[in-house]
Symmetry: C2
Subunit: 201 residues, 2 copies
Amino acid sequence: MAKISKKELIVKHARSLFSQHGYELTTLEAVAKVCSITKPAIYYHFEDKAALYRAVICPEFTTIAQHIEENTQVGTAVQRLESYIKTFGEFLISHPDFNAIFAREIANSAITIPDECIEQLSRTIKQLIFILDAGEKEGVFQKETPFLIQMMIVTTLTSYNTARPLRERIAQTIEDKSRQEPNFENIIESLSKKIVKGLLC
Amino acid sequence: MAKISKKELIVKHARSLFSQHGYELTTLEAVAKVCSITKPAIYYHFEDKAALYRAVICPEFTTIAQHIEENTQVGTAVQRLESYIKTFGEFLISHPDFNAIFAREIANSAITIPDECIEQLSRTIKQLIFILDAGEKEGVFQKETPFLIQMMIVTTLTSYNTARPLRERIAQTIEDKSRQEPNFENIIESLSKKIVKGLLC
DNA sequence: ATAATTTTACTTACCGTTAAGTAAGGAGAT
DNA sequence: ATCTCCTTACTTAACGGTAAGTAAAATTAT
């Protein structure tokens, strides 16, 4: 297997801990411990805690922007929008740590994420705008605020995952045991159908 | 004007600070300062920081559950669902601090919110389940996971508000200045139409 | 009515812990 | 011998929480 540098190892473990506990409650001591090193070793590789956090999130934003652009270029507007949603949803499945971190960032107004990440987010939003505009020109989509559609996609999917423990607590107080939890692929599919249907003329 | 007790004053200011900075980054010293008292005075009224936080959020969950129940009893399933979404959205407008706190809680898996609040949330979910079931019986709604609909409503609306600074940063990187921000009432209305349309048979 | 006592609602001063960050030095590779 | 990559041992600051004391209001006793 490909060798992973110590620096990459720190980022990987830090990502896991940031995703579990959030930025404030993640201590560098804890990161060091799971990496089997000491705290100052982290300071050798990163300027400070914020720099480590940036190293954790920035590559993820870049990757998702690439995935989105690669997968939403061809087809009808409906197909491209479906692919946009599916690509985003599948990225969350394969990057659960990013899911949790991104959800917290949105709830926190994303004040701590660097401009570098904002640019990557802009790439995805621009792609969504292209798709919605194309749909309008095709005469299949109603005009709608792109940011609302983006929020419907992004926050519904990320929060559906982060809110799982909340759902389980709520489910315990509701008698109806017949309802079972659908898997996340089905949720992506359902959401996609609803958003497309809601947008159609 | 109605006299407000010192204890209520602490809760009010604490709610504002918790909503701005989150639980961890809100210090009791800061709460005390805006109340023009000292930190131990807070400990006179509340057992600890967590107890103050509970006093901040619990009444809000109770109020929203009441509003939802009061406003979604009559009419067709479509009307009741529209009222459900509108009532929730308008509560967020009139309780912006709750909006921010609730968004953070969902992103954080709601692990810190007490069972008392979960019960109130259950009341609203039960109401949504009633409405969706009624819609199925009327033959107008497709069967869908209620939690997905709940997430589409709750997280889209709360995050649309919390993500405002994020949107503004993104907007700066996109040339198109013609698009203007719709007000939140319009967002509620748009979301409502899309969810209802997406659910129709 | 008024004096004695108690309770309410705080303040001042402080403790203990925790976590970010640093200074200095050491082991191993080149 | 010097550079890389770390460790040990530390400083600093902040924050939750507490002990002890007090002014003023309320309650009770005389």
